[in-house]
């Protein structure tokens, strides 16, 4: 895990002092609200529907138990006892007061955390594969390069007042678990024919009003060229990206309008200017950073307690089957803790739950935790013999739900319950879908099915890439939900296809149920997933199930 050096600590202290002064200058009138707004946003502070909201970065989703305990402290001391894990490896507090935020930031700084660039027209918090450092299919741990990018992008003078936000994600494994193709810029660790490690760069992906799948701009950027290359991309976009219309400002539109070849040529020319200014200090820093991410000394021992519990305890077995993933060391496992208890708000954890997870990480997990874009918490390194004890503790605190990858493991943005931009609610829809399928006792039979819900066109809930996507809109003053099918958030990324007219708030859960019934009746075998079935049979059986009246009218 990365530990702040003196430079990081001094930077953050100065930055927090600046923000404290900015709050004071807003209150004394030196700064207008228009001027203060981008400053508070670049420090993670929004003004939402009912209150301010502070979005704290969990860079590349990694944190230790002391950091998790501090997140719990913020929830208790300055908020209402809980926090909300987001789809971009952040945590949001929904109820802080403006005057308390500088103190909250100082408390975070004590454990090397901040809220910098979690909002605003800046380079946002860098995200990464949530199984980084643990996954069996990993080429290289993406976190050292993500940390280097975090430092480079932090307070970058050229990129604090851009036309729009810029999101970067990093992956280092065969499988993409970081939704790389839906980012403004994605960095993928690859090896060339000579066996050297470098980076494949994609740009122009994004969701929102105009969903686009990222395109490869460079197949292999050598390690030492990465920062100047990214700097060239962002610099070119900052210069030529549109500023006349915020819905056309993201780099996906720039790439679409100019073409990837034109952008590549401009980036290459800018890179040629920038590259000579990098004299190698970033590579020395990278070597230092890498040491922080050395794998822990994995303990060895018998896995008998695990094997016994798996054989004898069906509740444990169900949890192990859904919530564990293969670790690079065979007697270890990756544990995903579900923050999706049926009927609860997706991604919300209480201060008590955060402390329980912190303690489990400290006692059993080499002091490491991860946050996923799917709004769950991960213990990346657990010796299998410890799993029964961990499961028992999780169950006691409402954290033992066995549903990872299943229909109730829903991504949902805060929606109209909190967000000032939202056009409809997301949270109650997610709660009702999860509760309904839990009542039906169908979710294990249904298998892998991702539902993603956004409460507005901005698509924070990733609905475009959900197997079933739900988009909440305001239709003539009433909540209305559009359904898309066939979206894919992995390396085979696809934008879902719209099924037809939307559904009213009280019609959306029955509509999802009809889709699932249709899937169960047309799938080839129990092993064929929803997405595989959709790709084989297409939209028509689902459309028929969703709109039976339309069929009747035609007949």
């Amino acid at each position: 895990m990365y530990k702040y050096n003196d430079f990081d600590t001094a930077f953050l202290a100065e930055r927090n002092a600046q923000f404290r002064a900015q709050v004071e200058r807003r209150i004394d009138g030196s700064l207008t609200e228009d001027e203060f707004k981008p400053l508070r946003l670049m420090n993670g502070l929004y003004l939402q529907l009912h209150a301010y909201m502070l979005r704290v970065a969990i860079p590349y989703g990694s944190l230790n138990s002391a950091q998790m305990n501090t997140l719990a402290l913020l929830a208790e001391k300055w908020d209402k006892g809980y926090g909300h894990f987001t789809t971009r490896q952040n945590i949001q507090y929904n109820w802080p007061k403006l005057s308390d935020v500088p103190d909250m930031l100082d408390a975070l700084a004590e454990v090397g955390m901040h809220a910098i660039q979690t909002s605003g027209n800046t380079i946002r918090n860098v995200t990464a594969d949530h199984f980084a450092g643990a996954a069996a299919d990993e080429i290289e741990d993406p976190r050292p390069i993500a940390e280097l990018i975090r430092q480079w992008s932090t307070d970058h003078p050229e990129f604090q007042f851009m036309g729009r936000k810029f999101k970067i994600a990093v992956g280092g494994a065969a499988k993409d678990r970081a939704v790389l193709k839906a980012h403004d810029l994605a960095v993928r660790v690859v090896q060339n024919d000579a066996g050297e490690t470098g980076y494949q760069i994609l740009i122009g992906g994004g969701l929102g009003r105009t969903p686009m799948i990222g395109k490869v701009i460079n197949d292999f950027v050598p390690r030492a060229d990465l920062l100047p290359y990214i700097e060239a991309v962002v610099s070119v976009w900052n210069q030529i990206g549109r500023r006349d219309n915020k819905y056309k400002a993201r780099i996906k539109i720039t790439v679409h309008e100019h073409g990837i070849d034109h952008i590549r040529a401009r980036v290459d020319a800018r890179f040629a200017l920038i590259r000579p200014t990098f004299l190698g200090a970033d590579q020395e820093l990278f070597s230092e950073i890498k040491v922080h991410f050395s794998p822990p000394k994995f303990r060895t021992g018998s896995t008998t307690p695990y094997d016994t519990a798996y054989k004898t305890d069906p509740v444990f077995r169900a949890w192990a089957d859904t919530n564990l993933a293969d670790h690079r060391v065979s007697d270890h496992a990756i544990v995903t803790i579900s923050i999706k208890k049926h009927g609860a708000t997706p991604g919300d954890a209480s201060a008590e739950q955060m402390r329980v997870m912190a303690t489990l990480a400290a006692d059993y997990g080499y002091d490491e935790l991860r946050i996923s874009h799917e709004q769950n918490v991960i213990l990346p390194h657990v010796h299998k013999s410890d799993l029964p004890a961990i499961h028992a503790k999780l169950k006691q605190h409402g954290l033992g739900t066995a549903n990872i990858g299943l229909i109730s493991d829903i991504i949902a943005c805060p929606g109209m319950d909190y967000c000032a931009l939202a056009t409809a609610r997301s949270i109650p829809v997610a709660e009702q879908i999860a509760t309904r399928f839990d009542d039906l006792k169908l979710e294990h039979d249904i298998g892998h099915l991702q539902i993603k819900i956004s409460g507005c066109i901005n698509a924070c809930g990733h609905h475009h890439v959900g197997h079933i996507g739900i988009l909440g809109l305001d239709r003539a003053g009433v909540e209305n939900y559009q359904i898309t099918l066939g979206g894919d958030a992995t390396w085979s990324a696809a934008v879902g296809e719209r099924a037809g007219p939307g559904f009213a708030y009280d019609e959306i859960v029955p509509a999802v149920e009809r889709i699932v019934d249709a899937y169960l009746s047309v799938r080839d075998t129990a092993e064929e997933t929803f997405l595989e079935t959709y790709r084989r049979v297409g939209m028509s059986p689902f459309k028929a199930a969703l709109y039976p009246e339309a069929i009747k009218k035609v007949a």
Binding site: F7, A10, F11, E14, R15, Q18, A21, Q22, R25, G29, S30, L31, E35, P38, L39, N121, L148, Q151, W152, T154, D155, H156, P157, E158, F159, Q160, F161, M162, L227, S235, N238, Q239, I240, R243, R266, A269, R270, L273, I274, T277, F278, L279, G280, A281, D282, E284, L285
Partner: protein, 135 residues
Amino acid sequence: MTVIITDTGFGPDTWTLGYEGDTALDLPSDTDPVQLSERLAAQVQMIRIAFPSFADGRGFTIARHLRLSGYKGHLRATGHLIADQYAMARRSGFDDVEISDELAARQPENQWLARANWQQNDYQARMRGGSPAAA
């Protein structure tokens, strides 16, 4: 009237040749710095770049590009910049910032001097390993 801001605070404008002649350029924020650098005449000693709004950060990229392309003359940011952007302007290669008297009254000298320490806590300079971009 306007105020010129440097690391030592507020001061008068010492550029006396105006922006009409061959030695100075007055540029909008949508200037293409690539074309500009290619055509830049050797006698240009002063380039002033407009910030029509503090939210329009293209001027930072223009300044940085000019410096990377070898421009050694004076670079000035003018318009609606706020004190919090002083460090960004200096790190991007500007020599000074020009604001209206009205803005200077609302954001007095001490708020700008608070960012005169722009050479400290600079992640990007640390990454590159040399001196700041302006040098």
